[in-house]
Amino acid sequence: MELKSVMNRYGLKQKIFSIAPLFGLIALVVCFLAAATAKDLNIAYSMKNILNQSVVVAVIATGAIFIYTLGSFDISLGASACVSALVGGMVYNATGSVTLMFLTCVGVAVAIALINSVLASVFNLPVFVTTVAMLSVLNAVVLMLININGTGSQIAVPTDAVAGLNTTWFKLLVLVLFFAVCLFVFDFTKIGRLQKFLGGNPVCAKLSGINNKRLAIIAFVMSGIAVGLGSFLSITYAPTLTKNTASSVGMDVIISIVFGGMPVSGGARSRIYAAVVGAFSMTFLNQIMVMFNLNSGIGQMVKAVIFLIVVSLAMSNQRNKEILPR
């Protein structure tokens, strides 16, 4: 009898820790609201602002979860978003069609993702290092695109063309729809299930008849779609594109995913909502920093500390006491 109650409690504990990042987000929201009241903030505007600042990372990170679930790591996402946006912008300027621009963004991003995954799976390369190489290729491509374009340092889509899409509702719609699709694929289809299993134990997955190459390619395609959507959203938000467009996205995605409680080793503990939770948590944290007008250096130090604390809490039930994690 006693044992049973202990077991129940143990099961419960496991659950509570697994949603610690959600508590982290809630805590940040509370802190934000408290500070906002004290600092006389325009809260309504702020909410819109927070969505604006989270949505691109949230979308891309949600797609990237598929890669992370496999225990892989893609560092070229930001550069890929930049290339997609630039090509998309050029296509708009050539054709004047927003639809074509949208399709181009997604197409280019998916193509890049496919190259990454095919390279990695055909030649059995470690994914992370492949994406490091891809990162430097994409950076070069960005410089070349800007060169080809010949209009100076930027590729600008007319603001009027995309202003209609730069609205809260459109962004929410894209985020919610894409999240729903990912949630469905991740938790309710064979694809997501097998990916989680593959990430958890590739050897066993192979011996369970799972085709790791195909799943890796699907994961990359999902992330490619996300990058395409993200780059389209960033065009609508800031239609003047430069070599630095989306440059911080790559690292923001990694940080958000981890902040949202996703284990870096992937596997069965992967959660599709980690990306959204993490992206919004990071934005709320940033907003709190902004309100206190911290020196960038100190602000970044505070961010690092909070990041570590939240992630340690989230993962405190997964730790091996005996040996250090690798």
């Binding site: 099961g11 289809t189 299930r193 299993f197 958890g200 050897v203 369970s208 085709n211 069965a268």
Partner: protein, 499 residues
């Protein structure tokens, strides 16, 4: 004659999370004896000895060594003071040399100034290898290049180099050839005659009764009974191990040995390095085909080749007459494969029971083989959990929290659930307690009766003899002998062809 107590464990308690691994255990071992510890998996025998040998600490209780309080801080510390242990799993580090393994963690012994003298270390290591009769191993070789048995010998050398007063041998002999076993038996004998102490852990009743002077049985973390040499009795020991009399059959009771005509799976002149040499065999419908041999005779590879997980260099693996392209194809042809290395190859430990069982069965319950409906999945998984009586809190529990036997049941559930017609079972009862073993043997038998085919690869000769319709003995990638099922078949008949 007054016996001198060397090892004393008093009132030892150890918990792993919610599991009580040891419950107020008292053990005393004397000088000049070989004391056996026996019990089912998870009974606590390895836990108790590993605490004594400094591998982990206990929550409660006291230990004494030659009458003095004994609190080793690590295995190295324990070994330094005279207590050495040869562990069950692989206890060597692959990426370094044999000499470095022998002096693992004590390179400082060869320090001259701040630097380590490598040649001196190698010379000393070779000396030790020679002293235990393993001079075929070169101390400067990289350990990963040795086979399993030699790696075990390196481990033994590491312990024996320290000339311990107490030696703990934990299920070491199972995977060794006669030569390896002889080396260990010699060492144990020598220690005994020198008035030192040996604790021998095994699940092999015959072996343990042969070797030991005294025998202590553990069950569920408690000491059940200690048998003196003159009290040794197989049935009595077995009964105290499982706490009840085994009802019904353990293995199958018939000696019929018949099976269908139809060949469901076969290997044709398969070659793969030194693992398979022009090997052909056929598995028939309704047959339990046993394959035995030493750990590295190639039988484990054979299982993988038949499942399509490993490609032979030449020759082919066929199921229902068609070549097996890969695992997915094999599964489509209703082949299932339970791997030897359960925690790595059969299961994803960091996933739930549900995940593990349903991963191979998605094509069974997923709508259009794609869409997973939680209700359907739940029902599918529950069916397997119930059928195999897997003991768990819920199907959401992580597999890592289960006992060895229950883990293996999950691995079975993966394949039985999807109605596999051909099962390749590689060491299916390894590290599984007697109760579960019995259940599995009965399950295999039932499946045979249902017309399913089973390839039973095992290092345990008793179960091969007990279960197989046909029994093949392999050595060095070749088939050395084929036995038909008969009552008189004994382990020594097999061993002759294995070694």
């Amino acid at each position: 004659m007054e016996r001198k107590a060397v090892v004393e464990i008093r009132d030892m308690t150890k918990n792993f999370g919610i599991t009580r691994a040891l419950d107020r255990v008292d053990i005393t071992v004397y000088a000049g004896e070989i004391c056996g510890l026996i019990g089912e998996n998870g009974s606590g025998k390895s836990t108790a000895t590993s605490i004594y040998a400094g591998m982990q600490s206990c929550d409660n209780g006291q230990m004494f060594f030659k009458g003095e309080r004994w609190q080793p801080s690590s295995m190295m510390d324990a070994l330094e003071h005279g207590v050495g242990m040869i562990v069950q799993e692989n206890g060597t580090v692959p990426g370094i040399t044999v000499a470095e393994n022998i002096f693992l963690g004590e390179s400082a012994r060869f320090r001259k100034g701040p630097l380590i003298r490598r040649t001196e270390m190698i010379r000393k290591a070779n000396e030790i290898l020679k002293s235990i009769g393993a001079d075929h191993i070169e101390a400067s070789a990289v350990t990963a290049s040795l086979d399993f048995q030699d790696r075990k010998l390196v481990e033994i050398a590491r312990v024996m180099g320290k000339k311990p007063e107490v030696l703990v041998v934990d299920e070491t002999t199972t995977a060794l050839s006669q030569k390896g076993r002889d080396i260990i038996y010699d060492i144990m004998d020598k220690m005994k005659t020198d008035g030192k102490t040996v604790i021998f852990i095994s699940h092999d009743l015959d072996e343990i009764m042969e070797v030991c002077d005294r025998l202590t049985v553990l069950r569920d973390g408690k000491i059940i009974r200690t048998f003196e040499k003159d009290e040794f009795d197989e049935e009595a020991v077995k009964t105290s191990m499982i706490g009840r009399e085994l009802k019904g059959d353990y293995y199958r009771s018939d000696y019929d040995g018949s099976y269908g005509q139809e060949v469901v799976a076969e290997l044709r002149q398969a070659n793969l390095g030194d693992q398979l040499k022009n090997l052909s065999l056929q598995l028939h419908k309704g047959e339990i085909l046993g394959i035995g041999g030493l750990s590295h005779c190639g039988m484990h590879t054979l299982g993988k080749v038949l499942f399509g997980a490993v490609k032979p260099e030449s020759g082919e693996a066929l199921v229902h007459g068609k070549p097996v392209r890969d695992e997915a194809y094999a599964m489509k042809e209703k082949v299932g494969y339970v791997a030897k290395d359960r925690d790595v190859e059969s299961l994803c430990l960091d996933a739930s029971i549900r995940d593990n069982i349903s991963v191979a069965g998605l094509d069974q319950f997923a709508v259009s083989r794609f869409l997973i409906l939680p209700s359907k999945e739940k029902a599918y998984v529950k069916q397997q959990v119930d059928d195999l009586s897997i003991k768990c809190r819920s199907a959401e529990q992580y597999v890592s929290a289960l006992s060895g036997g229950n883990k293996q049941k999950v691995a079975f559930g993966k394949w039985t659930g999807r109605g596999s017609e051909i099962l390749i079972l590689d060491c299916p009862t390894r590290g599984v307690d007697i109760g579960v073993k019995q259940a599995m043997y009965q399950l295999m038998y039932r499946m045979k009766k249902e017309g399913k085919s089973i390839l039973l690869i095992s290092e345990e000769m008793a179960e091969l003899i007990g279960m197989s319709d046909r029994l093949i003995v392999m050595k060095d990638g070749e088939i050395k002998k084929e036995f038909r099922r008969e009552e008189k078949l004994s382990e020594s008949d097999m061993i002759r062809y294995m070694i």
